[in-house]
Amino acid sequence: MTTADIFIALPMMLLAVGALLALLIGAVTRDDRIVVIIGVATTLGSALWLMQTPPALIAPALGLSASGMSRLFGGFFALLAAGVLSLSAGYNRERGITGEEYTATLLFATFGMLALSSATNLLTLFLGLEAMSFGFYILVAIDLKRAASGETGLKYLLPGALSAAFLAFGIALIYCVSGTLSIHEAVQLTLTVGRPNPVALAGWGCLLAGIAFKLSLVPAHLWTPDVYQGAPAPVTAFLSGGSKGAAILLLLFLLPQAADATILRIPLWGFAVLSMLVGNLAALLQNRVRRLLAYSSIAQMGYVVIALISGTGGGHKAAAYYAIAYGVMSLAAFGAIAALERSGSGETLDDYRGAGFRHPFASGVLLLALFSLAGIPPTTGFTGKFLIFTAAIRSGEIALAVIGILLAAVSLFYYLRVAVTLYSKSSSIHAGARPNYPEYLVLTAASTAILLLGLFPNALIRLLSHLLP
C-alpha cells in the first residue's frame, strides 16, 4: 500500500473505525450520547480530510481516486451524515430507539457512499452502492417497537435486492462487452457513436432499471411512500438526501463518459415524464405529510433526470447541483419533521394545523424547505430548477422543459397546502418539547445552506463547471 492509497482510503477507514468503535463502546457503557459523539466526530473528521486531500490522486489497487467530484460529494455525504446523527440523538431517545447499532449502521452506510463517490471502476461503484443500501435496509427498520417497522424494512429490502441483482447483471454485461471494469473505458466502449452492441444495450437497460429503483423513478417507485412513512424521520432525511444523491452521482460518473448517450435518451425521457407526472399528481391526494414528501421526491427525481438527459447543454452540472440542493432540502424538511414529531406532533396534515405558532422554529424551517422544493426564489431549489431548465432548453428538450414547468406549477398546490396548514388556526395549544440544541444547530445550518446556495450559487456552479466540463 502506498501513501497515496492510504491518503485516499483514510476517510473511509476513519468511518469504518468509528463504526467499530461505536459497536465496542456498547460493551462498556449504555450511554448513547458517547456513541453519537463518536459518530459525529468521525463523519466530520472524514469530511475535513476530504476537503484537504491533495486532488487527482488515484489508487489503482483499491479502485479509488480522490477526484474533485469524489471529494466534493464525499465531503457532502459525510456532512449530511453528521447532521442526521445529531438530529437522531433526541429523536431516538423520544422514540425509544436505543443501542449503538444505530450509529454504527449509519456510519457504515456513509462508508458506502464515500466508497461510491471515490470509485474508479464499476466494481467499486457497485460495492459502494450496495454497502450503502445494506446500511439503509437495517436503518429503515430499526424502530423495533413499532409494528410497521418490519413491514417498512421488507418493503425496502425486497425491491432493493431485485435492483441490486439488476445492477450486478448490468455491470456484468457491460464488462462482458468492454472487457474492462474501469468506468471511463467501459462506458466509452459500450455507448459508442453509431449502433451499440445489443449485449451492451441490455447491460445498460439493466443498469438503468437498477438505478431507477434507487432514485425511485416511476415505475420503480412503489416502495417510496411506505418507506418514507415508516422509517424514523432522520433516517428518511438521510435516505432521501443521501442515498438519492449517491445514485445521481453514480449516473454522473457514467453518463458524461459516454461517446454518445443518445440511445439512453428514450428510456430516460420516459422516466422523467412519468416520475414528474405520477409524483406530482399523487402528492396532491396525500393527507400525510411524509407520504406527500415521498411523492414530491419522486417528482423531484424526475427533474434530475431532465438534467441528465440534457447533458449536452450543461445538464450534468445542473444534476450535480440539484443533488446537493436536494440533499440540503431533505435534511431541512425531514429534520424539521423529526423535531415536530419529537415534540408530539402526529403525521397527518390535520396534526400540523397551527404548528407554525406552537413550534415556530421547526415550522419555519419546514416552510423554507417546502418553498425550496416548490422552486420559489431565493432558495436553492429555485436555482437548481433554473439550471435544469436552462440546460434542457439549451440542448433542445423544449417539450420536456414545458411539461416539467407545468407540473411544477401543479406541485405548488400541495406544497402550499402544507404551508397553509402550518399557519392556520387550530384549537390545539399543546406546545410539547422545544427543539434541542443539535436540532437548532443542524436546522439552522440547513436553512442557511438553502438560502446561501440560492442567493450565491456562483462558487458551487463554478466548481461544478470545472469538475464536469
Binding site: F389, A409, Y423
Partner: protein, 495 residues
C-alpha cells in the same frame, strides 16, 4: 457620482426591517412603531430620489436612467445585480412606499394577533415590490416578482376571512402559473441572445435588440404577456382578484390593489414591449380588444355587487383595463397616461379599500344593503368617501380623470373604434359609483350600527391620500415632466 447606495438602500431597508421583526413577537407596540418608522423612513428615501433626477450618469448606464447600479452577482451564468431608476420607476417606488405606510396605518388596530409577523410580511413585500420596480436584470426581476407573492399569500391565508385559504391558494396558483412560463421565456431569450452574441447575459440592456424569428418572438412574448396579464388582471384572467380581495385583510387589499396590480403593467412597459417590439405590435389588437372588453365587462359586473369590497375590486379590473389599453397603443401620450393612471389608481383604490376596511372594522359588515345615512352620522368619513369614490369614477379635477383623459386622447388616433367603446367605460363607473354613494352615504339609515367617526390616525391617512389625489388632479405637470423622457425613449422618439 456613485449612487449605488440609494437604490440598494431602498431595496434592503424594508427587508432589514422585516428581519428586525423576528425577535419582536409578543411585543406588539414596539413592533408596530418600529415597522411604521421604517416604512416612513423608506418613504423619505423614496422621495429623496426625486431630487436625483438631474443626475448625469456615465455612458455605461442605459439612457433615461438617473440612478443606476450594476455589479456582478452570479457571473458564471451571466446574472448581474443591476438596478436602475428612471421616471417611471421613481413614481412607482414612491407610490409603493406611500401605500405601504397606508397599509400599516390601516391595520393598526384591526390586527391584534401575531402582530410582528404581520408587519414582517408587509415590509418583506415592500422590498419585493420595490425590487420589481428597480430591477434591470431579468433574473433579478423574476426573483422579486415571485418573492413578493409569498408575503401576500400568507397575509390572506393567516389574517383573511371567509374562504381565505381557498382564495390565497387561488391567488398564488394563478399568478405563479403565468410566471413559470415567463421563466421559460426568460431562459429562452437568454439562450437565443447568448448563442447569437457569444456572451450570455440576463441584462435588459443586452437582451434588447436580440434578433428573434417572428415565431420565436411571438411565443416568448406570449409567455411574458400571460404572466403580466394575470397580474394586471386582464379579463378573462381576472377571476382570482375578486376572491383574493374579498377574503384578504384590509392591509392586504390595499397593497394588492395599490401595488401588486401595477407590477404587471410595469413589467409590460419595462420588459414586454422593449424586448419583443415586433411580437408586441402583432398582438396589440388582441390586447386592446381584451382591455376594452375588460373595461366594460368589469364595470357591468360591478353593478351587481352587494359587497362593497367586491365592488371596488371589480372597479379595479375596469380601471386596469384602461392602463392595459394605454400601454397597448404605445404612443407617448397614451403611455404617459397609463403610467400616471397606475399611480392614480394605486392612490384611489388604496383609499377606497382602506375606507371599506374602516367601515368593516366598525360594523363587521360590508354589505351595501346594511348601510345608509352615513352622511348624517359620520360626516367626516362620508365626505372623504365621496371624494375618493368620485375620484375613482373620474371626476374632472381629481387624479383619475387626468390619466383616463390622456389614455383616451393618446389612443383615439390609433384605434378610434376601441377608444369610443372605452369611453363608454368611463361613464359606467360613474353610474355604479353614484349608486354606491347614494345607497351608503345618502339614503336613509337601514340598520342601526355602532358608528364612531374617523380617528386621528384614519384622518391623517385619508388626508395624505386626498392631498395626493387633488394635487395630481389639479397640477399633473411635474409628474408628466418626469415621465416625458423615459416614455419618449420607450416609444422610440427623442426625449
Amino acid at each position: 457620482m456613485n449612487h449605488m447606495p440609494l437604490l440598494t438602500l431602498l431595496l434592503l431597508l424594508p427587508l432589514a426591517g422585516a428581519l428586525l421583526m423576528i425577535p419582536l413577537s409578543g411585543r406588539e407596540r414596539l413592533a408596530r412603531r418600529l415597522a411604521l418608522s421604517i416604512a416612513l423612513l423608506e418613504t423619505l428615501l423614496a422621495c429623496s430620489a426625486w431630487f436625483c433626477r438631474g443626475n448625469q450618469l456615465s455612458s455605461a448606464a442605459p439612457k433615461g436612467f438617473f440612478l443606476f447600479t450594476d455589479s456582478p452577482w452570479i457571473d458564471s451564468v451571466g446574472i448581474r445585480y443591476t438596478l436602475g431608476m428612471d421616471g417611471i420607476s421613481l413614481l412607482l417606488v414612491i407610490l409603493t412606499a406611500l401605500v405601504t405606510v397606508i397599509a400599516m396605518l390601516v391595520s393598526w388596530r384591526s390586527i391584534n394577533e401575531r402582530v410582528s409577523l404581520h408587519y414582517l410580511l408587509l415590509l418583506a413585500m415592500e422590498s419585493g415590490i420595490i425590487g420589481v420596480f428597480l430591477s434591470l436584470d431579468l433574473f433579478l426581476f423574476y426573483l422579486f416578482w415571485e418573492l413578493m407573492l409569498i408575503p401576500m399569500f400568507f397575509l390572506i391565508a393567516i389574517w383573511g376571512h371567509g374562504r381565505n385559504i381557498y382564495s390565497a391558494i387561488k391567488f398564488f396558483l394563478y399568478t405563479l402559473f403565468g410566471s413559470l412560463l415567463m421563466l421559460l421565456a426568460i431562459i429562452g431569450i437568454y439562450l437565443i441572445h447568448g448563442s447569437q452574441s457569444g456572451s450570455y447575459s440576463f441584462g435588459l440592456a443586452a437582451l434588447t435588440g436580440t434578433q428573434l424569428s417572428p415565431a420565436a418572438g411571438l411565443w416568448l412574448y406570449a409567455a411574458f404577456l400571460l404572466a403580466f396579464a394575470v397580474k394586471f388582471p386582464i379579463v378573462p384572467l381576472h377571476t382570482w382578484l375578486p376572491d383574493a380581495h374579498t377574503d384578504a385583510p384590509t392591509a392586504g387589499s390595499v397593497i394588492l390593489a395599490g401595488l401588486l396590480l401595477k407590477t404587471g403593467a410595469y413589467g409590460l412597459i419595462r420588459f414586454g414591449y422593449p424586448l419583443f417590439p415586433e411580437a408586441a405590435r402583432t398582438l396589440t389588437p388582441f390586447v386592446i380588444v381584451l382591455a376594452v372588453a375588460g373595461i366594460i365587462y368589469a364595470s357591468w359586473i360591478a353593478f351587481a355587487q352587494k359587497d362593497m369590497k367586491r365592488l371596488v375590486a371589480y372597479s379595479s379590473v375596469g380601471h386596469m383595463g384602461f392602463v392595459a389599453m394605454g400601454i397597448a397603443v404605445w404612443t407617448p401620450v397614451a403611455l404617459s397616461g397609463a403610467v400616471l393612471q397606475m399611480v392614480n389608481h394605486g392612490l384611489t383604490t388604496a383609499a377606497l379599500f382602506a375606507m371599506v376596511g374602516m367601515l368593516d372594522e366598525r360594523t363587521h359588515t360590508r354589505q351595501i344593503e346594511d348601510y345608509g345615512g352615513l352622511w348624517g352620522k359620520i360626516p367626516l368619513f362620508s365626505s372623504f368617501f365621496v371624494l375618493f369614490a368620485m375620484a375613482s369614477a373620474g371626476l374632472p379635477g381629481l387624479n383619475n380623470f387626468v390619466g383616463e383623459f390622456l389614455i383616451l386622447a393618446g389612443s383615439f388616433k390609433e384605434v378610434p373604434a376601441a377608444t369610443i367603446l372605452a369611453f363608454v367605460g368611463v361613464i359606467l363607473p360613474l353610474v355604479y359609483t353614484v349608486r354606491l354613494i347614494q345607497e351608503v352615504i345618502f339614503q336613509e339609515e337601514r340598520r342601526t350600527l355602532p358608528m364612531p367617526d374617523l380617528t386621528t390616525r384614519e384622518l391623517l391617512l385619508l388626508i395624505s391620500l386626498a392631498l395626493c389625489d387633488i394635487y395630481i388632479g389639479m397640477h399633473p405637470a411635474p409628474l408628466l415632466d418626469i415621465l416625458k423622457a423615459p416614455v419618449a425613449l420607450l416609444t422610440g422618439g427623442a426625449p
